[in-house]
């Protein structure tokens, strides 16, 4: 199968989009953006300065009042324009995601659809942002109402694993509710946002309403240090999420910070084996295991353990690893050399700790892409709960298989984990499924589903060290995060 064509081979210098203008960063610090399958440099991204971020926030603040006064129905119309433009550009967006991030083109198409879904949901802002009132609510002849109001300028700091979707968990809701916005994409994958912002520009948002600033720590610190920035949305690792949350507290910003994960998929003795194995494969290996919803621990309960691991390993061997733009690839590379090194380190650690390596993806060679950051499917058996590979986030295509005697043991194991992003159960027993759903302290629960990816109209949840804050991205939670409730009590003499 031929590889699909790339939108561009070389995207040149990545630019910022501030106050409706494309501007070159004045920074002296630039990073190479690499295609993780070929390791070729496909662009250069600026690490924008604190001053550049400050300018963007000032432009957003300047634009805010006029945008806030734009009726919600008019704001929604611009979102509708964007939706139509994104449908037109669907395939290009997906191919850029695949090219810069490494995920398979089907995965990237799924991600593109998720971007558009968030625009669609935000387009319904006229009803989502509606307040409520009660006649004589305060006393006779005194009415009381709640108005849902925007707050000003918000920003987001986004990760490398979903260059398209994660920014769309946030900015459509912020902007549709009447705020203005600064997006800082991951410096490892800035090209999708670069492309999407051209579409945003075409859609007709007024200058300053939505801005793009590329960069790293300096840009993020400038966000926290600016008095006009009201809040920050973040997705990334737990240590950084904690830091973001703390900085937000110190500087009086609203924060929603999504951290890491260590998700367990629990297979009960009555699970439908073939369906279960097939479904878990996409959880463990989709996006090369670099999803915060990816399965990491496979837990076989009771008698199913042996047949499960046998089938799982056989199926894992058939996962075709290759360039994401080759439509026949089931799994692409990890994002970078550093990421590969880290994942390989965990595999070495697993071996050292005494786990049995049933499938070793360390030395995989992908013909035509020998330099790429590929890791083959890797499966450990005889993993115990105290091993590092059972406890820590690996963020790669590595599966730790654990055997448990009962559902209670599995739940106890899940609860010992500091993360609480997602967990799934595979069973035909409604009682077990109900117990799992009820007891497990994770934000996203799957019943015979390995990737518990909330649709745009539901929040992307998370507990414990997987989320810091109260309101999540997407849907009504996002609307609440970017607005406040203003109570008005009225009496006419």
């Amino acid at each position: 199968m031929a590889v699909l064509s790339e939108v561009k081979k070389d995207y040149g210098k990545v630019r910022n989009f501030v106050n409706g203008e494309w501007v070159d960063s004045a920074t002296k610090s630039w990073l190479d953006v690499k295609n993780p399958a070929t390791t070729e440099t496909i662009a250069k991204v600026p690490l924008s300065t604190k001053e550049e971020m400050t300018k963007a926030i000032e432009a957003a603040q300047e634009a805010w009042w006029a945008w806030r006064e734009t009726p919600p129905v008019s704001r929604a119309r611009v979102m509708f324009n964007l939706k139509a433009i994104m449908e037109r550009e669907f395939e290009n967006i997906a191919r850029i995601i695949s090219q810069e991030q490494g995920k398979t083109i089907d995965d990237a198409r799924g991600e593109t659809r998720r971007c558009i879904e968030n625009v669609e949901v935000a387009s319904g802002i006229t009803t989502l942002q509606m307040g409520y009132n009660l006649e004589d609510g305060a006393a006779a002849n005194i009415d009381e109402e709640v108005i849902i109001s925007p707050l000003g300028v918000f920003g987001a700091v986004c990760p490398f694993n979903f260059p398209g979707m994660v920014p769309f968990w946030f900015w459509p809701y912020a902007v549709a509710t009447g705020n203005t916005f600064i997006l800082k994409p991951s410096e490892q994958v800035p090209l999708t946002s670069q492309y999407v912002f051209k579409l945003i520009e075409e859609a007709g948002f007024p200058p300053g309403v939505i801005n793009l600033v590329n960069g790293r720590e300096d840009a993020v610190n400038a966000m926290f240090d600016h008095k006009d920035l009201k809040g920050i949305s973040f997705v990334g690792s737990t240590p950084v999420a904690k830091w973001i949350y703390k900085r937000g507290g110190e500087t009086g910003k609203r924060v929603q910070a999504q951290g890491g994960a260590k998700n367990s998929l629990v297979v009960m003795p009555d699970a439908k084996l073939d369906n279960t194995v097939n479904n878990t494969l996409s959880s463990f290996y989709g996006c090369a295991g670099q999803r915060c919803l990816a399965g990491s621990n496979l837990v076989g309960v009771g008698d199913i353990a042996d047949p499960l691991i046998r089938k799982f390993v056989e199926a894992s061997k058939r996962i075709k690893v290759g360039y994401g733009l080759d439509e026949s690839s089931n799994m692409g590379p990890v994002i970078s050399e550093a990421a590969k090194k880290k994942v390989l380190g965990y595999i070495d650690q697993g071996v050292k700790d005494g786990a049995k390596l049933l499938l070793d993806g360390r030395n995989i060679k992908v013909p035509g892409y020998e330099k790429g950051y590929f890791i083959g499917t890797t499966v450990f058996d005889d993993v115990t709960p105290d091993m590092k590979i059972a406890k820590e986030e690996i963020f790669g295509p590595v599966v730790s298989f654990l055997r448990m005697k009962s559902l209670d043991d599995a739940i106890e194991f899940i609860h010992k984990c500091p993360f609480g992003n997602a967990a799934s159960i595979y069973t035909q027993n409604g009682r077990w499924a109900r117990d799992f759903r009820y007891k497990v302290q994770c934000g996203n629960i799957g019943v015979n589903i390995g990737i518990v990816a909330a649709m745009a109209y539901f929040p992307f949840a998370g507990y414990k060290d997987s989320f810091f804050g109260t309101l999540h991205g997407q849907g009504k939670d996002a609307v609440s995060f970017y607005t406040d409730r203003k109570v008005v009590i009225t009496r006419w003499f």
Binding site: M1, T104, E111, S282, A315, E327, S328
Partner: protein
Amino acid sequence: MEYEFPECNSFGTVIRFGLELERAATNIYDELSRDSKLVAGADTFRALSVVHKKRGDLLEYTRREKLNEMILEPIQDLDAKKYIIDTKAPKGVDIKAAARYAAGVEERSSMFYADSAKIAKNLLSEGARILERMAKENLANKAKLEAL
């Protein structure tokens, strides 16, 4: 015209295979409809060309709308080689031979969609319904061709 029929190891590659089938069928019927020896079947061939173009659009729509990260499960039991069609429309043959050839294309395509629908049922019921319908439509097309 070059076609690339991929191995079918995911729902996405099943759709890609189907897209190639539909592109090939569209071109085959276009060619047949232009053949001066096949005037008796020209209207049918033209109509079938349009049908297959629309089916390609439907598959494209399905890929864009129905594939998301929840249903990226690998497919491991569909032998794509069995369904590859002969994409070279015969030249200089009579209407019966041309219709027989085209009916063969429809039959093989129908097999592909019917078998894919069975596999897709567990992954994506909406997708499976579309594939089932396409398989039936292929057989209806075959019947039309056999009447020529």
